[in-house]
Symmetry: D2
Subunit: 141 residues, 4 copies
């Protein structure tokens, strides 16, 4: 199974008074990795949101923290799709520093029409489904 890599550097402001990364930032980075995932796949989320009024609001997220991150650390997130239901998908994110896993989590999100007042779940388009399968970003059944 292939993965899509998202790379970033820990900024000074991402740390807290204990000198390590303030943990909600991991979720900010997972969110960035998911946007990067669809953009790399050929579906830039900025275009989805602005032109097609499609967003992917969060349903559930989780993260396990093994080792702390520090200012200036270079981090890679490896993202894969672990499940695609009709309207809902699960994307897994592994945080690596120098090749070692430092944290890992996932996000469950819904494919949504965001043109109305509140997001409304709709079917994940076949072209997105096909792109994920073609790039082997999900375990084939």
């Amino acid at each position: 199974m292939n993965k899509i890599d998202y790379q970033f550097k820990v900024n000074f402001g991402d740390t807290d008074a204990a000198g390590i990364v303030f943990y909600p930032n991991y979720y900010r980075w997972m969110d960035q990795a998911t946007h990067h995932f669809f953009t790399t796949l050929g579906f830039p989320t900025s275009t989805l949101i602005r032109d097609e009024k499609v967003g992917t609001p969060i349903i559930e997220s989780k993260c396990n923290f093994k080792f702390p991150l520090f200012f200036d650390d270079e981090v890679t997130i490896e993202s894969t799709m672990t499940e695609m239901k009709e309207k809902v998908f699960t994307i897994e994110h592994v945080f690596l520093k120098d090749g070692n896993k430092i944290a890992g989590g996932y996000e469950v999100r819904a494919w949504c029409d965001i043109s109305g007042e509140r997001p409304k779940a709709i079917a994940i388009p076949n072209e997105v489904r096909d792109a994920v399968e073609k790039m082997k970003l999900i375990a084939q059944s």
Copy 2:
């Protein structure tokens, strides 16, 4: 079982381009609720961190999102301790708006000596344990 309430208002900057709260902020608020929990219990975390060099780094966190939050929403987080091991505890957070549950999650954290370069887990002090039990913030065994 009793709960400790933490109240806040959603700020303008907490929302994203879809007009709803950007989800990593829920973890920021869970973190604030945990600090508020120990402070209310009689152990202000700012004192713990500064004077006793004790912190509670995150091991695992999770959140389920049922309904979106919007700018100016008034939110209450109800926090309870669901497990206290020797060095590690789990604190549960329920997000309420107008009495309705809009999200719920938990944090697993370690009681740590943060005087060194990296946090080192140590036993949760008995006075903390006793305060939690005395205030019935954990299910009695």
Copy 3:
């Protein structure tokens, strides 16, 4: 001249690896103080944004930092209107801790129609102008 007070507490995540508040947060708090200013005046900005499609995008902001802020500090921001032109206003913010000034800045903002793709400056409504003058939140000419 009267002032409108906005009160907040410094959260753990607001600090950086040097143990003091990461400075962009002061602007986040100035933004909150401005929203609080109009809301207290009788014009809740959440209603303005959602129902009237009116926002107040920033044109210029500045801050002077005299003393650092730390985790758990209780802070008051005193806000006054120092200038109201046809479409643009300047709001001044003074940060106080235990009665001492620790920082001070201002924001220049435009009263804008945000119903279109990009914000468009429009005249500040007379009822807003009148409320500011009636509450003596601006130096009378």
Copy 4:
């Protein structure tokens, strides 16, 4: 006069309910640009902070906002040193999108010993001064 370029992309979470970038983020990016400036110059700020206990707390900052930024915009910040006093320096930041200036500001910061409880201003080292002049990042007097 030469400039040091810092490049970044606007993330989804950087925008607010009006769909444009929430302005305190510009200061976050200026802070990142300053860290990048010294790191590029040969003085990585993460090393300065951790090993030499030297930081550069903010004294004053200002920004003018000409055009809004949107999700996925690619932005370059051009940074130059406009003044270096004994202990205090001013660094100017120009935000460019597709070659057009969209915002501009500056930061005044003090070179500080951060080994104690509170930062203490100390003389900017000659090697930093020399590097800035050698790379022509400041107007020669």
